[in-house]
């Protein structure tokens, strides 16, 4: 049921804040298990809530980046995402960066990845899409689903409208929480109803789960909101909320590759439709050069290119020209953060500021990956590569992937949530979404977001 009266009660098993891919996946999965769920969404049934102050911006990304790529709308960022899907790799989980690693293994997530693929209208076989292409590099295509991204609000609207157990409170922004003195469980949610301007509270029992799924900017914004009594904000006892923001720097068409591989002609499992090809350094190469994860995509295949024709003549076999965009993993840096400004919206909610600076090591990781590929192609007689310096260092963009700002880890000293997405120290307080990622890999996060949400839903079913 969708409603926007703002008249809510506590007679639910669980509460989910935010209706994006993470929140909606948790809520729908709980509803399937016949749990009563109240999902808060600050947007209305259609359109997005654009009347809140935009996040201030510092660093490399454009002024409106953080606001226009986060959506306060039913379906959240699924209303605007591009639909690209790929999983994180084994080594994203097993290899640390700056002393940080996932407290999970990929194997634990694989069953949830397969279910997430179906939710995102893909064949589960995309989860296994990784093949050795030539020594040094793997072929790991992106599933793009013919550029028809799953819009959660469209796909699941009728399910939500018909559900007796899943209720969606539209036009309601959660402002904060109260917890027990021992900070072991959430005992109150305070929310603001935009249409009426009323602020209300709901009492919560320890057996009722509370899940914050407000996105990589919205989640820390909520956890950072100051308390009237000046105490540590609920959920930020670690002091880590908002820190270690990561994006995926994209160096658009920073490479031209000519390969002896006809990637368009490559047979793939049925779920791929028309993939976007990507080459990834293998673990041995990463280790050899001290690199982090990075993808070199290969698009716009043609044989009608000077270099392809030259190599075809030299090697007496066809060569194919591609334009290559680089997507690199960012090193988690404490300086890249979500802060709060002193500006409050009409509900009294403080507006965020965001700083995200791409470091030299992030740029160099992308550039070196390309150069290593160029060397490998020559050494193995497989092609040639061009590296456009300016397109790495002078122009770049991002994926709209906001990660790491409430990261997962083994203790409160370096993370906000544990391996089950539970806020450290709490019995009934959880976070969902890309804010919990401790490392970004190169992979688009949505498939991982939904997989983690499904895993969280299983945890919640067990507690109540």
């Amino acid at each position: 049921m969708l409603f926007n009266t703002g008249l809510l009660n506590s007679r639910y098993d669980h509460f989910v804040i935010g209706s994006g891919p993470a929140g909606m996946s948790v809520a729908l999965e709980l509803a399937k298990a016949n749990k009563r769920v109240l999902m808060f969404e600050s947007g209305e049934g259609t359109g997005s809530r654009d009347d809140l102050p935009a996040a201030l911006n510092y660093g490399h990304y454009p002024a409106t980046w953080w606001t226009r790529l986060s959506r306060r709308a039913l379906g959240g960022s699924s209303t605007i995402w591009s639909g690209w899907c790929t999983t994180l790799m084994d080594r994203d989980f097993s290899s640390p960066i700056a002393g940080v690693r996932w407290p999970l293994t990929r194997d634990e997530l694989v069953p949830f990845y397969r279910r997430a693929a179906v939710i995102l209208d893909r064949d589960p076989s995309i989860v296994d899409a990784e093949w050795a292409l030539f020594p040094g590099f793997l072929y790991r295509p992106f599933s793009v689903h013919e550029n028809k991204p799953t819009r959660f609000a469209v796909k699941y609207r009728s399910v939500m409208e018909a559900s007796d157990v899943l209720h969606v409170a539209l036009g309601c922004s959660v402002l904060g929480f109260d917890a027990t003195d021992s900070r072991s469980s959430i005992q109150k949610i305070t929310y603001f109803h935009h249409p009426t301007g009323a602020t209300q509270t709901l009492s919560i029992k320890p057996t009722q789960g509370v899940v914050v799924a407000c996105g990589g900017i919205g989640t820390p914004q909520l956890l950072l909101q100051p308390r009237a009594d000046g105490g540590v904000p609920i959920g930020n006892e670690s002091g880590q909320a908002g820190r270690f923001l990561m994006e995926h720097p994209h160096f658009v068409e920073a490479g031209e590759s000519v390969l002896s591989f006809d990637l368009d002609g490559r047979a793939l499992p049925p779920g791929f439709d028309k993939p976007v090809h990507a080459l990834i350094p293998d673990s041995a190469l990463l280790e050899q050069y001290g690199l982090r994860n990075c993808a070199v995509d290969c698009q716009h295949q043609t044989t009608d290119h000077l270099m392809a024709r030259y190599l075809s003549k030299e090697f007496s076999k066809p060569f194919y020209h591609y334009r290559s965009t680089i997507r690199t993993e960012m090193i988690p840096s404490e300086s890249n953060r979500v802060y709060l400004t002193g500006e409050r919206n009409g509900a009294g909610f403080y507006t965020p500021a965001v700083r995200c600076v791409i470091g030299a090591d992030d740029y160099l990781n992308g550039e070196t990956t390309l150069r290593v590929l160029g060397q490998a192609l020559i050494d193995q007689g497989l092609g040639r590569l061009r590296v456009f310096n300016n397109r790495i260092y002078r122009t770049f963009t991002g994926g709209g992937h906001f990660m790491g700002t409430a990261r997962m880890g083994t203790s409160r000293s370096n993370s906000v949530v544990d391996r089950d997405c539970r806020v450290h120290g709490y019995q009934n307080f959880f976070l969902a979404g890309s804010s919990v990622f401790p490392k970004s890999g190169y992979a688009n996060p949505t498939l991982t977001i939904v997989a983690l949400a499904l895993r969280l839903a299983e945890t919640l079913v067990k507690i109540g």
Binding site: Y289, L306, Y310, T368, R371, V372, G374, Q375, R384, R386
Partner: protein, 143 residues
């Protein structure tokens, strides 16, 4: 009065300390290990650059040979202009084109072109399909 240490014991002790220190230093700093250069350019020493392509020297020599250019007399090419400047002759124009990976052809205005400002002008083309038109005042080349 300090106890007298026998010379042998002293030398053995000193040797022991020296050995332990050496072993520790080798373990800690392993000076024999090659220092890995962070983010190597890769292209140094073995490869050459051609307009940011990473190539072998042989690649570059073949790709920049003027023999790759087919001259077409009395023809002008209409196509995407890349760059232009006066050159001494059509060979110089051809040499300029082959040095640039994105140059797919050129049109060279002859010295007798009726427009003095165009005489000896070398215009490089970057389009993949170049339309040819008859014009006695030009010599063109396609790669």
């Amino acid at each position: 009065m300090a106890p007298r240490i026998p010379r042998r014991a002293f030398l053995v002790g000193l040797g022991g300390v020296a050995s332990v220190s050496l072993a520790f230093g080798l373990w800690r700093y392993h000076p024999w290990a090659a220092v890995r250069e962070p983010y190597p350019l890769i292209t140094q020493n073995r490869y050459v650059d051609w307009g940011e392509w990473i190539l072998t020297p042989a690649d570059k020599a073949r790709l920049t040979a003027t023999a790759n250019i087919r001259l077409i007399e009395d023809t002008v090419l209409a196509g995407e202009e890349m760059a232009e400047r006066p050159t001494e002759n059509v060979d110089a124009c051809s040499s300029w084109c082959v040095q640039l990976p994105d140059c797919l052809g050129f049109s060279y205005a002859k010295a007798d072109h009726p427009d003095p400002s165009l005489r000896n002008n070398c215009s490089l083309k970057g389009a993949s399909a170049l339309t040819q038109s008859a014009d006695a005042h030009f010599t063109s080349g396609v790669r």
